[in-house]
Amino acid sequence: MAIHSAVRRAEVPPEVRRNRRRRTLEGWLFALPLVFGIVAFQAAPIVVSMYTSFTRWDGFNSPRLVGGRNYVDLIVNDPIFLQVVRNTIVFTVLGVPATVVLALVLALLGNLKVPGTAFLRMAFFTPYVMNVVAIGFVWYYIFGPTDGLINQFLRNFDIHGPAWLADSSWVIPAVVVVSAWQGVGYPMMILLAGLQGIPEEMYEAARIDGASAWSRLWRITLPLLTPQIFFVTISQFIASFQVFGLIYVLTKGGPGYSSSVYIFYLWQVAFQQGKFGYAAAMAWLIVALIAVLTWVQWKLQKKWVFYD
């Protein structure tokens, strides 16, 4: 092997080699700003935050190594942390299927060949581009306990609506509604692109065989759409585990800790309590959790995702 490559190298004329070296230099120069950014703002921070997670650190004085204490404290000694993890899981388990199913229904409707679908798709995408503080304002008044729009509406039917965002058992479902409303546009677009990639001949053939619209949906559309469904499920799941903005603007984690989610608590621990070591450990735990759950879903996809 070694001799072989040495011979080869000898065969390459110096001019070609110089040319090759020049091209490598050019490539790195083009990528240089990105490389600098990744090293300075991502790679180095990964190392620092890993180290930080094994220390007590207020961000000002020098950090003190404490081994795995932060991790142990989180899992064993912090009841708020456990509640926050539970809330995050509940939010995800309710929110991701709701969003994906809604996105699917809307994509199917948006793919119909009738006038008006362009407006429809634009409408579904609108909340996605609104900033979360504005969204928070609007929904805060929609969910108002007494003069909120929903409860005023329910009063017409003599239903006394709950306090929604101020009720510890309704707060997460309420935020899930806002989250699905806001987030459905993006997965819908991806599913729509998938729908438009399904060849028309498939439907023609099924129609000739007398398949009903219903069985065309279940036998052709959905199976052929599983790669896109899988993709949006995974990406929604990862985003849902890291929800922050909606909680910050709608509930601030309350009432009590009943809607406090992972990143919200992490933000409080780091930037309000100044416990950077503890927060770094939290950050790594959620990365590990997301990685494991994504890996599990990746393995499970063989059972239901259809690749041709």
């Binding site: 990964i46 909340p127 581009v129 503080v133 504005a134 609007v138 438009q196 890291q242």
Partner: protein, 297 residues
């Protein structure tokens, strides 16, 4: 990207089958019209919160929470917008500044890197691209804590630098999109220019970049959205009230006007309108960006 990017002409125009209905299809036409009305109602119901916001921003305070809500233009309260304009120009200016820096910087960095990954052959390219892929997967929160400490050390807290420098220099998503766009250009496009003796950079700038305008537009839109709507960044990196961007400024505005719904909704409307305008103008590129992002690495 090409085969998944929505071929939007026939569907977005809604004219998939424009041939005249055969007599036997008349019943089918009726169903289409009902379906169309249903879809438009559905779309409107989806828009209700945004429409309510717009409406409430002009309603007199004592009627703002009426149900059903009255129509704004019967007694429009333009004064709500005057209140907003008195209170928010600083935040607006900061947000505009950041959006411009982020979009321009992000376009430069991502098109340069995307070009290097797509069209140049160089040692270390594929390994580097793998690293870029990995950094895209790692949740941001891992980077943010050390970044905060770094910015504290170099005196960047409470300045706008943390809100654009890291973002401009790590446009991972933009780099993917630009790489795709450059890859889809025909092979050998550069060669003619290089025969004329133009440098790689000149070829890139004068021949290649102009061919990727749709992708550049998509990257610009996404970057603009990210920058304009960013909440977490300003929340941790900015401390003085007068240095805030729009989202936080809006939240501060709430502390001041929490009892007055009208001005609050006017404030919310003002933050949302620029995004709607950009979105409506560049909808097509936006959709291409979304659909091009998920598939085909």
């Amino acid at each position: 990207m090409t085969d998944l990017a929505i071929d939007d002409r026939p569907v977005l125009a809604g004219g998939g089958d424009r041939q005249l209905p055969a007599p036997g299809k008349r019943k089918f036409q009726g169903r289409r019209i009902i379906l169309m009305i249903f879809l438009i109602l559905l779309a409107l119901s989806f828009l209700t919160p945004a429409l309510w916001m717009l409406n409430a921003s002009l309603r007199p305070e004592e009627h703002v929470m009426d149900f059903p809500p009255g129509f704004a233009l019967s007694h429009p309260q333009w004064g709500n917008y005057a209140t907003v304009l008195r209170n928010m120009p600083v935040y607006f200016l900061n947000s505009v500044k950041l959006a411009v820096l982020n979009v321009v910087g992000g376009l430069i960095v991502s098109s340069l890197a995307g070009y290097a990954f797509a069209r140049l052959t160089w040692k270390g390219r594929d390994a580097l691209f793998g690293i870029v892929l990995v950094t895209a997967i790692v949740p941001n929160i891992i980077y943010l804590l050390p970044q905060y400490i770094l910015f504290q050390k170099i005196g960047w807290i409470d300045t706008l630098f943390p809100l654009w420098v890291p973002r401009v220099l790590t446009p991972v998503f933009g780099t993917f999109l630009m790489r795709q766009a450059f890859k889809s250009l025909p092979a050998g496009l550069e060669e003619a220019a290089q025969v004329d003796g133009a440098s790689t950079f000149r070829t890139f700038l004068t021949i290649m970049v102009p061919q990727t305008k749709p992708a550049l537009a998509a990257v610009a839109m996404f970057t603009f959205l990210d920058s304009w709507n960013d909440l977490f960044g300003p929340l941790i990196f900015l401390t003085s009230p007068e240095k805030q961007t729009l989202p936080i400024g809006l939240a501060q505005f709430q502390n001041e006007f929490y009892t007055q719904v009208g001005p609050l909704m006017a404030g919310a409307t003002v933050t949302v309108i620029p995004v709607f305008v950009v979105f409506l103008l560049a909808q097509r590129y936006f959709i291409q960006g979304v659909t091009g992002s998920g598939f085909k690495g």
